[in-house]
């Protein structure tokens, strides 16, 4: 059991087997190879990706399908193969999360839908990929009209 301190969650202990390794690091944060995925019920649907190598480094992340129900992931077989996603059978063995960049105004808060973080939860491996195509931008509004519309429609049912 090892201990680190998260700025919002506070001190936390973790087991070695819960560590997720980003062999190539996360783009721009390459020196951080070992991360924890923190899910706190009080922060849902947001999650935290916490660097173990540097406890000051935390990324706020969210499942892109919560933000855009029609989010379409296009990952080449080679990219999938790099963290053995192609070997996984069960849905709970993998996850996709996108980085949120918080701004003081919610309207300006953005999500990176272009470069999702892929997780092989079974083998505890992760990788950030940049998707090709023009469908998504690196900076998309998190609280977009389409998300708002989707939420209100869902509420209406």
């Amino acid at each position: 059991m090892t201990k680190i301190v998260h700025p919002l969650i506070g001190p936390l202990e973790y087991e070695e087997e819960s560590v997720i390794t980003f062999q190539e690091g996360i783009i721009g944060l390459e020196e951080n190879k070992r991360w924890l995925l923190l899910q706190n019920p009080k922060h849902q649907p947001f999650q935290w990706l916490q660097s173990i190598d540097n406890p000051e480094i935390t990324l706020m992340v969210i499942d892109p399908w919560i933000v855009r129900a029609d989010y379409s992931l296009s990952i080449s077989p080679e990219d999938q193969g790099r963290i053995n996603l192609d070997h996984l059978q069960e849905r709970e063995d993998w996850a996709v999360l996108c980085v949120v960049v918080f701004q003081n105004s919610l309207e300006e808060t953005i999500i990176n839908l272009k470069a999702p973080l892929l997780f092989n939860l079974k083998e505890r491996k992760g990788r950030q990929v940049i998707m090709e195509g023009e469908e998504y931008q690196v900076e998309e509004p998190l609280f977009s009209e389409s998300a708002r519309r989707y939420r209100s429609e869902k509420k209406g049912v």
Partner: protein, 78 residues
């Protein structure tokens, strides 16, 4: 840095299997064809830069409890 002059149609070979071909040139733009093995990622430099910049920015931008509550409200079901 190695600097080479190339004309349209000419190529540059890099290592095993990476070939750059100059397709056309205008006053302000060069069209380049790239052949690379599937395991070699090919990315536009500015795209990689913008992802890098955003990840670093994300690390320094954390909401406080109150702001987080407002953000969560938006995604609350029913």
């Amino acid at each position: 840095m190695l600097i080479l002059n190339r004309k349209p149609g000419q190529t540059i070979h890099i290592g095993q299997g990476v070939i750059l071909r100059v397709l056309s040139i205008t006053a302000t733009q060069v069209e380049i064809g790239i052949e690379a093995p599937k395991e070699v990622p090919v990315l536009r430099g500015e795209l990689l830069d913008s992802v890098r910049k955003l990840n670093i920015q994300a690390v320094g931008a954390k909401p406080g409890e109150e702001q987080l509550t407002r953000m969560r409200e938006f995604f609350k079901q029913k």
